[in-house]
């Protein structure tokens, strides 16, 4: 703390503390809430003050990213405490999706490859979690998730090896074929995968005892469980984003961007093209598998037909709309995915389109497809890129 006061901005920190105390006294109604709210604010204030330290982002970029992750996680976890269980469920689904999006964003944005098979990699992760949990139900959840990631990476390696020699259209077609074949592959091993019907988890993920007892007796079990799931997903998402942000900025990430922009130049400075491509492909499938594995935990079951080509196309749309190759774009895409159904059904209600009609059921596809085309034609870097450009223009105009 002393270091912060010395090098940071003490007035900002003090101001934040005062605001925090006021909000805490307004919001809370019981001593238990007091503890939670105070803790959340304390973490946020320390994190934000760390971020205000001058020169931190240049001198210790990893530390700065860690502080940013902690602040965002803190705010998100704090928010789940107040959300309804439906909102928390949507949030968890969207957060897990954003991990998958980040993987594809890295593949396309950093190394210039494109995949239409990421739904199948998600399916690999989702099924791995369910299969492992059904055979070894005592394994801790974190270990099961890591096993799912390992399976996803392995399948990514298998498909990535031929992919190293392929250029865009061929790779897109090959991964498309993988997405189409995924259901058939699952159905060939019915005794393991449960075929089209899928698998149930043997035991649902439940919050630890101290957390359940922390809540009032009136709070329903469902609310606490959903909140716990949302919190787990958010923490895993935070960690995944933190790693990816570092990877983007690392030597490997820079090498991959060079591969994307100019293959010949990359080879001349000693980057191995096949190596860079296969690593990008494996990272992308590992992230997809992690997202899929979290989906299994959230839904408590897995249905392989979910992971169809249509889902792959949705993943691609969200990455493009959010912004290819940007960290924030993947988050934006995840939020869009979590709430798109609500927004579209609100839209159909207010425009008087028949809810059970053909148009209403096809609207998501038409809207996503249309946005995909428009984004690619008019703002190829998506929402994140457009915002960044507006920001840069404003800074130029104000002379800052």
């Amino acid at each position: 703390m002393a270091w912060l006061v010395a090098r940071g901005r003490p007035t900002t920190t003090a101001g934040l503390l005062v605001v925090a105390v006021v909000i805490t006294s307004l919001v809370t109604s019981s001593p238990r809430d007091d503890v939670a709210v105070s803790l959340a604010f304390a973490v946020a204030i320390v994190g934000v003050s760390t971020l205000t330290v001058r020169g931190l982002r240049d001198a210790h970029p990893v530390f700065a990213r860690a502080a940013l992750t902690v602040v965002v996680l803190d705010a998100a976890l704090f928010a789940t405490y107040f959300f309804s269980s439906i909102t928390n469920f949507n949030l968890a689904i969207g957060a897990a999706m954003s991990i998958t999006l980040l993987g594809l964003s890295f593949l396309t944005g950093a190394s210039g490859q494109i995949s239409l098979g990421n739904s199948a990699f998600m399916g690999v992760g989702a099924l791995s979690v369910a299969i492992w949990a059904n055979h070894h139900s005592s394994t801790p959840m974190a270990v099961t998730l890591l096993i799912a990631v390992a399976c996803g990476t392995l399948v990514g390696l298998l498909l990535g090896l031929p992919a190293t020699r392929l250029r865009g259209p061929y790779l897109a077609g090959m991964t498309l074929a993988f997405a189409v074949a995924f259901t058939a592959i699952v159905n060939s091993f019915t005794s393991w995968t449960g075929g089209d019907a899928g698998l149930q988890l043997p035991t649902a993920v439940t919050p630890p005892h101290w957390l359940s007892s922390f809540f009032n007796a009136q709070t329903s079990l469902l609310t606490v469980n959903t909140m716990w799931l949302a919190d787990i997903t958010i923490v895993v998402t935070g960690v995944a984003f933190f790693f990816m942000a570092n990877l983007f900025a690392s030597r490997t990430g820079r090498a991959m961007r060079l591969v994307r922009d100019n293959e010949v130049a990359a080879e001349l400075v000693g980057v191995s093209l096949p190596r860079a491509r296969v690593i990008a492909f494996m990272v992308s499938s590992a992230y997809a598998a992690l997202g899929g594995g979290l989906w299994t935990l959230i839904n408590n079951s897995v249905q392989p037909p979910t992971f169809s080509l249509a889902l792959s196309i949705t993943i691609l749309s969200l990455v493009v709309i959010g912004g290819i190759g940007t960290i924030s774009g993947a988050l934006i895409g995840g939020v869009i995915y979590a709430y798109s159904n609500n927004v579209i059904s609100w839209f159909t209600q207010h425009t008087g389109i028949n809810q059970q009609g053909n148009l209403a059921s096809q609207l998501p596809g038409i809207i996503f497809g249309g946005l995909l085309i428009l984004t690619m034609l008019f703002a190829p870097m998506g929402i994140a890129g457009a915002v960044r450009r507006l920001w840069a223009r404003r800074r130029v105009q104000t002379g800052a």
């Binding site: 058939a184 609207l363 497809g369 995909l372 034609l377």
Partner: protein, 299 residues
């Protein structure tokens, strides 16, 4: 002789040939677009699907089968031309993922619009060819009037495309503008028109293929009728080489026959898995176009 012709192996070859010519047609339409504009058209199944629906709606139940076929093909030409002029034109010279993404978006928009207007219920197209297999000595020969119609039509289309490219002035212009656009322009070829024509032709071929698929008594026309067939058609085109029409057709027919054997002797799940393995292995052995392209690319 009868016993031989109705044996399992001959049945599989005939059945595979019927499927294979369809894959070959899809592959051919992909190659036509690839050669003229260097774009892999992921909406190659959806654009002809729209054209077939249009043909069906306009004169569907009044004039019978043949007018429907003709109108669908004309609509296919139109859909191809308009798509190139309005959408694809903006994609030339962009990074290679841009056209992929846009055509994938176009695919789901078209399928969504078709399902919104015409619903996802399959619609049969009544046609004069019986789908019932001929009998030889009390056993079915895996060939019906309808499959002969499919095979003959496909062969006619393939020959027609070959004749157009080899022996006509227009075909020469098409090949020239794909090979050396600048030189062709200097020699008076309207290159931009040729690019449009490539898409027109390709969608026309695709529409003939879609009409054949949708006329099948057991399939009918649905918005997603070409999804699975597109995957096999792409695999055929990639195995044969996206630059080579002959390769596409040969690969399409061979893959059709191989997959028929796999489906018969293993099971139906193995079909698409085998296709995926064929694709991966053939791309690993010969990722064609890669090296020729990289030497020609400017640094």
């Amino acid at each position: 002789m009868d016993a031989f012709l109705t044996s399992r192996i001959i049945s599989d070859i005939l059945g595979g040939l019927t499927n294979g010519v369809i894959y070959g047609l899809v592959a051919l339409s992909l190659v036509l677009v690839w050669r003229s504009t260097g774009i892999l058209n992921f909406a190659q199944g959806a654009m002809p699907m729209i054209a077939t629906y249009l043909g069906m709606v306009v004169f569907a139940h009044r004039l019978g089968y043949w007018p429907l076929v003709v109108i669908s093909i004309v609509a296919g030409f139109g859909v191809g031309g308009v798509t190139e002029r309005v959408l694809v034109r903006h994609l030339y010279g962009k990074p290679e993922i841009n056209p992929i993404v846009v055509m994938v978006g176009f695919l789901i928009v078209l399928e969504g619009v078709a399902a919104a207007i015409w619903s996802t219920t399959p619609r049969g197209i009544p046609n004069p060819f019986s789908p019932i297999d001929w009998q030889l000595g009390g056993k079915p020969l895996a060939l019906s009037p309808f499959s002969v119609y499919e095979i003959v039509t496909a062969l006619v289309v393939m020959t027609g495309v070959a004749v157009l490219f080899r022996f006509t002035r227009l075909g020469l212009q098409l090949r020239a503008s794909a090979l050396a656009p600048e030189v062709s322009r200097l020699l008076g070829v309207r290159v931009s028109r040729m690019l449009t024509l490539g898409w027109v032709l390709s969608t026309g071929v695709g529409t003939i293929c879609t009409v054949l698929v949708a006329s099948n008594f057991f399939t009918g026309l649905t918005p997603q009728v070409m999804d699975g067939i597109f995957a096999f058609g792409f695999i055929a085109a990639a195995v044969g080489g996206l630059d080579s029409p002959v390769g596409a057709i040969v690969a399409g027919v061979s893959i059709g026959i191989v997959l028929q054997f796999v489906g018969d002797f293993v099971n139906s799940n193995a079909i698409i898995i085998t296709a995926l393995i064929i694709l991966i292995v053939s791309l690993m052995v010969r990722p064609n176009g890669l090296f020729t392209k990289s030497t020609a690319r400017r640094v």
